[in-house]
Symmetry: C3
Subunit: 186 residues, 3 copies
């Protein structure tokens, strides 16, 4: 039976590399798997012309869009494995925002929620060397606090859904181990 | 549009000072804001003559009162900003009690849940010098554990409501920074 | 009025010893108390012939069984105190699984959720000396992480139910203190 795995990780965790490699590995192994970005699905189903419009919609409309996106993903998973690329919590000027509020979780019905984690110092190093993205300067302590908070958020997500919460450590030079761990969930 | 911010912080965090100063600041800036204490609203709506009676009511009645108080606060917020003064979790002889159970959260529908935090040693110092209140002696480790638990509780609250979770650090001699951070949420 | 206390603790926490001694103590004190193992109740109500079959049932059927077991426990607690022996979260190959998902919690309606905790080094020592059970080798850091995650899970459980979350420390040579703390909840 096909599965839905929600993949999360803070910027610099290496989530994207793991995702790309795992999908390739799974399909080589004939385990048909697609990855979708939650924000992209939301944009597609929202009917608005530009992404910026999405955030300006009234809150009820945004919740409506999130639900529709979640339902669409649940439908996709009837035919093949789906990895949902999203955030556990997002740091905003008003504080941490849950990437997976109740109405999203209960419509996606995930099997596993994955937290890709790395040492705060490694994350900092990756962010510093990544010139393509402008990222807020965060201290190793801030990064540590964010990762810890994500564990608390994720286990709450599991309480509502029955999903398991898998921590995948993505250490520098050990990407393949992380890729195998993610692929091993299917 | 007006907002509801839930303000929490353990005894000695300096929550009350921040609250008073922020409400004054916001009203000077013509952002009409009131603060309400959740326990007070509950007492007002409960119809009982004394506070002690409230805790002796059967559990269903207490839940009923909590819901009514939450609905009343939600109605207030249609006209002006509301800061709700309450606790994230409360230490009782039977263990930690959630200040914001599901039925309260879903009726208040807060925009932001604020945790006022401070260094455990600073909190301990403030408690020791505050002779007006009798407070249980807690070690810095106990204080640290309580603050960490509150983060986990708060992010669960956000999962159910879509609120953001804002951590405001209230260091000794930096009260004004904390006040500005709270006022900045409106 | 009788109470329902959910008792959790990771392998090596000493949960079972505390449970046995507390039930004996409470009954000596004429506070009628029974203990039930959640897995056993589920097996009894499931109608399957062997435990292994239970895990192979389709997910909806498993959820159904969990609900039935929770309702049965809630009914038992109308006549006498019940201590429910179960897990806060369970480590599985697919990650941590919540022992108390929403549909279990809302049907049991517990008064208190207890976490029996111990120093990671003590837990490790107890596991090493327990030859009767085959347990996965976990480092003290892994044990620490699991106990921290359980606190986050437990406080989420409290948010949905209004239960309190009680941490009982079970240090080597201080079993009686832990027993008294558990019994003191009734």
């Amino acid at each position: 039976m096909s599965k839905i795995v929600i993949l999360t990780g803070i910027p610099g965790s290496g989530k994207t590399s793991i995702l790309t490699e795992s999908v390739a590995l799974l399909n080589r192994e004939r385990k048909k798997t697609v990855s979708v970005n939650f924000g992209d699905v939301m944009f597609d189903t929202s009917g608005v012309a530009h992404r910026d419009e999405m955030r300006k919609l009234p809150q009820e409309k945004q919740i409506e869009n999130q639900k529709k996106a979640a339902e669409k993903i649940a439908r996709m998973a009837k035919k093949e494995n789906v990895i949902v690329d999203t955030h556990c919590t997002i740091k905003t000027p008003s504080g941490y925002l849950c990437g997976l509020p109740e109405w999203v979780l209960k419509n996606i019905k995930p099997n596993v929620i994955v937290l890709v984690e790395a040492e705060p110092s490694e994350i900092k190093g990756r962010r510093d060397s990544d010139e393509s993205r402008k990222r807020d300067e965060e201290s190793a302590d801030d990064i540590d606090a964010h990762q810890k908070l994500n564990r608390a958020a994720a286990i709450s997500y599991c309480m509502l859904t029955g999903a398991t919460m898998k921590i995948i450590k993505n250490r520098d030079s050990y990407l393949l181990d992380a890729v195998k761990e993610l692929a091993g969930l299917f």
